[in-house]
Assembly symmetry: C2
């Protein structure tokens, strides 16, 4: 009888150990916003280099496949193929450089919101100063622009 | 001897039960994006009612104390007092109605990103169609606008 109870108690204890262990084996959150900010800054450096190179294919690939490019003066441009056309339009319009100035990031491993300001250049001439919000998501292990909206800081002429 | 083992095993089992229980007593995440979406929709209804009432104080209180209102044609307006002035400017400009059309929400209990489209009206006339991104944060237990950026869907005339 005691052996039975002992065995039974042991089975329960073992079950509890397995139960507890399985709980602590859940993947721990290694997300760290400081690291994410550095990764977003790196992604911005890459974006600026692609604009300087006039690489609309590379720019389109900086966006998620289901991204929205929310530029002023037109409805949102949805999806990578359409965004590539929009990027080709921008680099063909004479824009030679974008200067992205990240101010803050917020969020989690699943979604980062970035706010900042940017300047557009034609040659050495600064032709626009804008504020922006970008939502970033990871696609294929890389942070990509999921939503990208901006507007001018300057009064309409 | 068996009694000792039995008792010892029982203590371990009890300890494991307490250990497991204490783990499951950690505050569970009750966040649910469907509920949050409904809460944001309610906050938008409130915002639309405040615009219709021309209530710039109420509108400023819909923003967090550290909010940024990122309107086109000017730098960001930062903080509730400045946002109240901006809201007074909008309601005094003749805008009688805003129609907010939420499309999607993303995020967590700490930060919601909303995307949508809006129309502005002067009387019965729709004078602007814009897309927007809003970051929402809870302040005093209520969702408030933390970042608010939008731009026109229409080409510059």
């Amino acid at each position: 009888m005691k052996n039975t109870i002992l065995g039974f108690t042991f089975i329960i204890a073992t079950a509890l150990v397995i139960s507890c262990t399985s709980k602590t084996e859940e993947p721990t959150t290694t997300f760290d916003l400081v690291t994410a900010k550095a990764e977003i800054e790196e992604a911005n450096e890459n974006f600026m280099a692609l604009v300087a190179a006039g690489d609309s294919v590379g720019l389109a690939n900086a966006y998620t496949s289901d991204a929205k490019f929310m530029s002023a003066g037109a409805p949102s441009v949805v999806g990578r193929a359409n965004i590539q056309s929009a990027m080709a339009g921008i680099v063909n319009s004479g824009i030679t450089k974008v200067d992205l100035r990240l101010e803050n990031v917020y969020g989690t491993k699943d979604l980062i919101a970035e706010e900042g300001e940017l300047s557009l250049f034609v040659g050495d001439k600064e032709v626009a100063i804008e504020k922006y919000l970008v939502l970033w998501k990871k696609e294929d292990g890389k942070w990509k622009l999921f939503r990208d909206i901006f507007n001018s800081n300057l009064p309409v002429e």
